[in-house]
Amino acid sequence: MNMEDKIELNIVTVVHRAIAESDNLEIISTHLTQLLVAAMEIKGCALFVLNPESQELEILASFGLSISYLNKGPVLTGKSIVDSIKGIPIVVRDINQSDKLQYPENAKAEGIRAIVAMPIKFKGSVVGALRLYHHEPWDLSERDLELLQCLSDTIGLAMNCTRLLNALQIVKEAVTDIHQLWI
């Protein structure tokens, strides 16, 4: 068990800078997962977007997780770390002593021992999740949990910003396609 603070201000700065340097959400989210794995010396990290109709968490980016683990099946909010959909961070400090996982056997085979699930919110509603995977039992300090929530909030803003940019791009392309003769 380790309750020491692992995320220093320098690291938060580096992660924020990496996020701010791109307008491409695929690159932003992959850099976020890469840097969190490196900074916290954990096994892996994944970023999900919530499909509000199917209640499935669709993977947007991941790092450090095997292909077979990523392809294990749909991650459903009603079955996988259920409380995280309520908008609060959940720490599964030891998966061997928890019934919160949807695919516990896959997690064990992957070498995962602990999971931290952070909600990604926009305007107060959950729009996704940031999950961190550790290879040993894990107790996060309150401060690290708060910093992770701060990063999750930033990624929530970046997600919605890129979603709006994409929508604008589609509108622009549709308008550009209209020949002058038709208007």
Binding site: V37, A38, A39, L60, F63
Partner: protein
């Protein structure tokens, strides 16, 4: 139209595997057919390291990230092996592992145009909301190409 050059964008999903199976079933007996399996990775971000203990630790961890990217390249070689086991000659299967600099769809379209591929086998999973956030690769590839056959695996 004889299909000689086939491009398969590959991202290790079950649908990507289905795409490989389709290529094997349909083209492994065509002697001139050449397959290129294409995967792009996000490079490790370049960061300015300050002289502090935690950042030195971070620097050490970044080399671990490079190692994981190398593992991804190794995994791509399995796709080549699947095609060879399915009947393709080794010299008719190419792998392209490239750093992501723009949208995945832009990488695919540029490569298809530059290398003049006859066929692109791409997958599509309908109903995904992530397309609103990262753009639909399938949609943009189909909308951007002329004179190229695009097969959809769904």
């Amino acid at each position: 139209m004889e299909i000689k050059k086939i491009l398969v964008p590959y991202n290790f999903t079950d649908l990507d595997r289905k795409a490989l199976d389709f290529v094997i079933r349909t083209f492994s007996n065509a002697e001139e057919a050449e397959v290129t399996v294409f995967n792009i990775y996000t490079p490790v971000p370049s960061i300015t390291m300050k002289d502090s203990p935690e950042m030195k630790k971070m620097q050490a961890s970044l080399s671990y990230l490079h190692q994981l990217i190398s593992e991804q390249e190794e995994n791509l070689k399995q796709a080549k092996q699947i095609l060879i086991s399915g009947g393709f000659a080794a010299d008719h299967v190419n792998l392209v592992f490239k750093a992501k600099k723009k949208d995945v769809s832009t990488h695919i379209v540029e490569m298809a145009k530059e290398e003049r591929f006859d066929l692109i086998v791409i997958n599509r999973k309908p109903g995904k909301v992530s397309r609103f956030f990262t753009k639909s690769v399938f949609g943009r590839v189909v909308a951007s190409l002329n004179d190229t056959i695009v097969c959809i695996v769904s």
